[in-house]
Amino acid sequence: MTDIALIVNGENKTVSVPPETTLLKMLRENLNYTGSKLGCDVGDCGACTVLVDGLAVNACLILAAQAEGKEVLTIEGLSTLEKYHPIQKAFEDVAALQCGFCGPGMIMATKALIDQDQDLTKQEIKDALSGNLCRCTGYTKIIEGVVDAYQEITGKKIPATKPRVA
């Protein structure tokens, strides 16, 4: 067993797990943060995306021990009981999620993208979310939600694409 000390959603945690445990397995099974989803377990689907020191990572692809001493943010760390995070609010407002399994990963990937505080274009949003698979929505409303959240959080505007049909 390995003892791992890390910060999850702002709280100090110490966990004792076998050394081969992935960060995702530790979050879900030892710390009970089941918001991060186990989709493919090989880094294809992005449903397990969490932030480690502000960077979006597939929690199924890194070992829990690699997060030693680092700050991990999961979907549970975004909202409080009273208030949604602006990204969650934007996703809800445009009905960006259907079955919702990709949702925690999509939202965390969005947070990592918006936190970089760069001027974003729609294409860059599509690039940033291309590692998160979604079978229900066709991504269209998810991207709308990211655009809304970005504009709400940063106050910047993303130019709307010209409508094809008048």
Partner: protein, 340 residues
């Protein structure tokens, strides 16, 4: 060279099969605080059906959608439903819920009528009130009527109903009959860019016009159509299960079974063509599966428009398109006889 092409795909799709029993049942109970509880056996898989079903019950009872508490998909407590299949939920389950709400409303009207000195058939339920038609100032809050019904009249306002699109047997001789209750129609247009040196196809624009009866929740209809298009694009260009000669799947994970990502999605224009269907709840039909039907046809037609080749087996991968382009070029090569 990148070549651009446009293509159209059209379809019709049946809603509510009638060749076999296809029932849904529902119970609506109006509570003494003016809210209502809806029991339905159908399953929400993310398409938003419970929202739409709550909207149907709310509209019938004249309350807000927020006032409806939905209990669904529990075989211990909820009535029978054939299932969230065949794009039938809004149409069949919606009809059952509308009938159940009507039955509950009938009790409310019978209780309210003597209090308002009118006949039950002169009443309507609007804005959380039971009111006299054309005389909206003569009204009672639904909560008061429900309370009166339960504790004074001893008639709790509960309605149960089931709906089964009339089963019509097929003629065993001719195979003719009426297999479905109603039909929806759609047209999708695709604009693609095809690289004639690599065969790569990029869908850059899709436009989708769908008839779904009354769009009870247009935002959810849009979500269904956009999701259907992404599945259609995967079907047309990317997704294929490959097996070896022993029947083992060669691409059993998402690294090599390629499904669309956000980068594969084109700009999409959705056009909801509303068309009241008298047999559906508030004129609604359905929109689920039809959204993925015409996409691949539209894309393959657009490929033909761009580079003049017909792809007749899906997915239209770059390899297949390039092979077809080469075959076409070879067959069009003019034979120049050697000079004598």
């Amino acid at each position: 060279m990148i070549r651009r092409g446009k293509g159209v795909g059209c379809m019709w799709y049946p809603i509510g099969f009638t060749v076999a029993a296809n029932p849904s049942a529902a119970t609506v109970k109006v509570n003494e605080d003016g809210t209502a509880t809806l029991l339905t056996g159908t399953v929400e898989t993310g398409q938003g059906s419970l929202t739409v079903l709550a909207q149907i019950a709310a509209e019938e009872l004249g309350v807000s959608t927020d006032d409806i508490h939905v209990v669904s998909a529990d075989t211990d407590t909820t009535p029978m439903d054939t299932g969230a299949i065949a794009s039938r939920t809004t149409y069949v389950t919606g009809n059952a819920i509308k009938l159940a709400a009507e039955n509950a409303k009938k009790i409310l009207f019978e209780v309210a009528a003597p209090l308002l000195d009118v006949q039950p058939n002169q009443l309507e339920a609007v804005d959380r009130k039971i009111q006299v038609q054309y005389f909206p100032q003569r009204c009672l809050p639904i909560a008061d009527v429900a309370l009166q019904a339960q504790f004074v009249m001893g008639r709790p306002p509960i309605g149960s109903a089931s709906y089964n699109p009339p089963t019509v047997g097929m003629d065993p001789e001719t195979g003719q009959g009426k297999p479905f209750s109603t039909y929806v129609y759609a047209t999708q247009c695709a604009e693609v860019e095809v690289d004639d040196e690599t065969g790569e196809v990029d869908v850059i624009y899709m436009s989708a016009a769908h008839d779904c009866g009354t769009a009870i929740n247009p935002m959810l209809v849009e979500g269904q159509i956009e999701g259907g298009i992404s599945m259609g694009i995967g079907f047309a260009l990317q997704e294929e299960m490959l097996f070896d000669d022993k029947g083992r799947q060669l691409n059993p994970n998402l690294t090599n079974y390629i499904m669309p990502t956000s980068l594969d999605m084109p700009e999409i224009d959705v056009d909801i063509v509303e068309n009241f269907d008298p047999t559906g709840p508030f004129g609604a039909k359905g929109v689920g599966e039809p959204t993925a039907v015409p996409t691949a046809a539209a894309i393959c037609n657009a490929i033909f428009d761009a580079v003049g080749v017909r792809i007749t087996s899906l997915p239209a991968t770059a390899e297949k398109v390039l092979r077809a382009i080469k075959e076409k070029n070879n067959s069009e090569q003019k034979f120049i006889p050697a000079a004598e």
